[in-house]
Amino acid sequence: MTIKQAAKNAMQTAHTWYPGLSSMVRNLLVLLALGVLLASQGVKAQQNDDTSQTLSVQEQLQALKKEVIALNRDLFVLEEDLLFPSSTQLVVYLAMDVGTYFDLDSVEVKLDGKTVTHYLYTEKQQEALVKGGVQKLHLANLAQGEHEISAFFIGKGPHEREYTRATSLVFTKSADAKLLELRIVDSSASQQPEFSVIEL
């Protein structure tokens, strides 16, 4: 979410705050005065009445959310242990530098000649990568030994031209988890993007 979207949300929600006016017919003048008084005093009184329950609900909800985060974390760890034990684990990250010379549209990853991932990027995802985020692009189990990874990058290069590049790496999978990173880096010298795969 961008700062502008947040501002937009604020304004969209604004009309939800309009207070309703109660009966105006019976005594317009008294009512107006009452309305103003309600604004400053009635609400205060109401706050006292409702605070205990509100806080209680808030506290319960907060505790629940905290536990959900902890559960999500533990679930993530458990799933990695169960599905991708470190002895066979291969993780492929995707990182992107400035992004001046390249707008990423998609990435295809091949392992030993077989396509294992094909990912299309939204504008937001691309933005997240450029701002320093890293995507866990591929997580898999791989037998120990020598393997080759190839990555094909499709997007728009300098001057809005279609750009397709590939890079590959031969690596050895040992008994430990193997971490690889696909990197897209702007080269100011050549004014071109550079693509590489590195072992972390």
């Binding site: 961008t2 929600t13 604004a39 559960l71 169960l82």
Partner: protein, 733 residues
């Protein structure tokens, strides 16, 4: 230092669509909204140095966890981002302090980001704890400004007004200007103004403002020129003036607010919208409509207030004009029409008043304004000396009131149905003012829709509804996890079975019997080598190529022998001796080669034999281990325990969630029922008033007839006048 400014985007709408409750129905028109849009600008904050002694693998993992958190955060996935932070801190407890500088592309301070995300997710306690801790650690003015601002927002959401005010008060104007972006700066100003207006005692605490008016002027001037908060502050200021009893000043302030758009509304709109259009992923049309609706809403409310004040001040003609400017389709439309009629009546334009109220009476839906229009019309007829018409309208009104009671009764039944509130929460959209939209599929859409939407303007109700919606989201997530746990249990069962089957297959295929046979072969080879050594048979250790040569030589010798024999039988001359000599030479060469290679061959054979021994020994050990494992039952106890433990936690949270959901439904149901009770009481009151008036009017009419012997003619009420919107380009959503 100030050149680099970054923005934290709090995603408050994700889990707290309404943010903190509104401070006041009138005074705090904008209060809760602020929290929804709390977009923070945070400066560059240098991190603690990364620990250079840490193993590089740990550094890499730390960075990857943080970068994944950033990836989730920039996409608006708060839960994923917070989970990554949690994972990072579980593996590296001090990790957030060691994030390298090169990862701060957006100049985001990791711990502040975590606090802001916590606030966004609705975990205010955690957020407050983080900000308080950071304030102890931080020493630079910019860091502290950011932390104080976020802490103030947290307290504001927690409705701890004193603490919120104190936190905001820690920032001075210069710091706010330097370290907060325009949006955050405006929020800081507006929230302070809100807090001060509700808690005047805070003014003396701050000790920097002389009186209310100068304070309001101070806030207005401090806001940026294009800020929409100007509207809210002006309106709240006018209400405060009204409360103080200075009607003329209040009228002037309200008029100034209403006149503002005429002076430069288009310019304001352009300057306000253009940045949004260029950067937001949402369509510019949606944004424009939302902004316009918000401004028109505030203006409608201001006009309504002004009109009633003018009525109070015996200026019905002016009130009449102001009422006519209020949009009919807005939230205050019907209230305006009712008041419009009263302004006409007060100006002795009874015919107009009756026409206006008639337009309300003709509305088929249930509303207190449509019902009160019957009583108002009866009042006007009576004032116009038409008691019969007055009685007639009251009779019609009585029927309508009875019908309203039936509708309310049906509404009560519908509200009490299980699932109604859950569905309402599911469909709840914080950006929509109406809880039940006009297109919603609700059977009893009359009174129910009206009452629910009427209650929907209450911040308390919306707050509870948002909380209920959040519990529904959490329930879905927890249920999904519960299913995954069941799947993992099954998966472990399957793995166990597969492992058993593999063991059986291996045992059945007698794979392990092959090793002893190989050992026997090795022993035979070793024996051959010993024999060759003892007998000095160098040829035995020669390579396969040599053995082929020897074989070919033997074949050649045999063939030569055969030829000589056959020649002797046929009495032909014998072959030349050079053939035999040639073969003899070759044999000699081979023997010489074997003899020459013998020391090397022997050494290599011994080495190969030793390596083979090692391999066989290793294989033997592995085989034994494997046999032990195969004979035992596959064990996934640790994994099963982990799965079971998480499953139990999920079940527990589901139960808590359901409990919370029930209490929320109960609370919401109470609120709705209470409103229905109030409405029923009100309608009963109308009925009573109408009945009393009818008795009185009937009596008057009787007396009038008896006195005059003539019938009073009905008044032609004519067509109701049209309401005109303030700005021509009003867009209805």
């Amino acid at each position: 230092m100030l050149a680099q400014v970054a923005k934290f985007k709090l995603l408050l709408d994700c889990f707290y669509p309404l943010g903190a409750r509104l401070l006041s129905s009138f005074v705090g028109l904008r209060g809760g909204v602020i929290l929804l849009s709390c977009c923070l600008t945070l400066p560059v904050i240098a991190a603690d140095r990364i620990d250079n002694d840490a193993p590089s693998e740990q550094k890499v993992m730390l960075e990857k966890y943080y970068q994944q958190a950033l990836y989730a955060y920039f996409q608006g996935d708060v839960l994923a981002a917070l989970s990554q932070f949690s994972l990072l801190e579980q593996r590296y407890p001090q990790g957030l302090k060691n994030i390298p500088d090169y990862l701060r592309k957006q100049d985001i301070e990791p711990e502040l980001l975590k606090g802001a995300l916590s606030l966004s997710f609705g975990i205010e306690d955690q957020a407050a704890e983080i900000f308080q801790r950071l304030l102890v650690d931080y020493d630079s003015a910019e860091k502290r400004t950011q932390a104080w601002f976020l802490l103030g927002l947290t307290y504001y959401r927690q409705e701890q007004w004193q603490k919120a005010s104190r936190s905001f008060g820690q920032i001075n104007e210069a710091q706010a200007g330097d370290y907060l972006d325009v949006q955050s700066h405006d929020q800081w100003i507006y929230l302070q103004a809100q807090l001060r207006s509700l808690h005047p005692d805070m003014i003396t605490e701050q000790g920097n403002v002389q009186d209310a008016e100068s304070e309001q002027n101070y806030w207005q001037e401090a806001l940026s020129a294009d800020s929409i908060y100007h509207y809210y502050l002006k309106y709240n200021q006018a209400l405060a003036t009204l409360q103080s009893g200075d009607m003329q000043l209040a009228i002037g302030q309200l008029k100034a607010l209403i006149d503002k758009p005429k002076q430069g509304f288009s310019q304001f709109v352009n300057s306000w919208f253009s940045p949004l259009i260029s950067e937001s992923s949402l369509t510019s049309e949606e944004q424009e409509v939302a902004h316009q609706q918000e401004i028109y809403g505030v203006l409608d409310r201001a006009k309504l207030t002004l009109a009633y004040v003018l009525l109070q001040q015996d200026q019905p003609q002016q009130a009449y004009r102001v009422f006519s400017q209020i949009r009919r389709e807005g939230l205050d439309g019907e209230a305006a029409v009712l008041g419009y009629g009263w302004a006409a009546a007060k100006s002795d334009e009874l015919q107009n008043a009756l026409g206006i109220w008639q337009s309300l009476i003709q509305q088929t839906h249930f509303s207190e304004y449509t019902l009160e229009a019957y009583l108002a019309s009866a009042y006007a007829y009576e004032k116009a000396y038409a008691p019969r018409q007055s009685v007639a309208i009251l009779k019609t009104g009585l029927n309508r009131f009875e019908q309203a009671l039936v509708e309310l009764s049906e509404t009560r039944q519908q509200v009490s149905q299980p699932g109604f509130l859950l569905q309402l929460a599911q469909d709840f959209e914080s950006s929509q003012p109406a809880l039940i939209s006009s297109t919603a599929n609700v059977d009893q859409d009359g009174a129910l829709k009206l009452l629910v939407n009427q209650l929907g303007v209450s911040n308390e109700f919306r707050h509870y509804l948002a909380a209920l919606q959040q519990t529904q989201t959490l329930e879905l997530r927890l249920t999904d996890w519960q299913q995954r746990m069941a799947y993992y249990e099954l998966m472990l069962d399957e793995r166990e079975q597969q492992k058993l089957q593999r063991a059986q297959v291996m045992l059945q295929n007698q794979i392990f019997a092959q090793l002893p046979a190989l050992v026997e072969q090795r022993d035979a080879l070793a024996q051959t080598m010993i024999m060759a050594e003892q007998q000095g048979d160098a040829e035995a250790l020669m390579a396969a190529q040599y053995q082929q040569w020897v074989e070919r030589l033997d074949q050649a010798q045999q063939r030569l022998q055969k030829i000589e024999t056959l020649k002797a039988q046929l009495q032909q001359p014998a072959l030349k001796a050079e053939y035999a000599e040639r073969l003899k030479r070759i044999k000699g060469t081979l023997v010489w080669l074997a003899s020459e290679a013998y020391p090397d061959n022997r050494r290599q054979a011994q080495k190969a034999l030793a390596e083979l021994d090692q391999l066989l020994d290793k294989a033997n050990q592995q085989q034994k281990q494997l046999l032990i494992e195969l004979q035992g039952r596959p064990d996934y106890a640790t994994q099963r325990q982990q799965v079971a433990s998480i499953a139990v936690r999920i079940d527990r949270q589901l139960q808590k969630n359901q409990g919370l959901q029930k209490s929320l439904v109960k609370k919401l149901n109470q609120e709705l029922t209470q409103l229905i009770d109030q409405q029923q009481g009100k309608v009963n009151d109308y009925i009573l008033q109408a009945q009393l008036a009818m008795v009185r009017l009937n009596d008057q009419a009787l007396q009038q007839n008896q006195a005059q012997g003539t019938q009073i003619p009905a008044i032609d009420i004519g067509r109701p006048p049209q309401l005109a919107p303030t700005v021509d380009e009003v867009q209805t959503p």
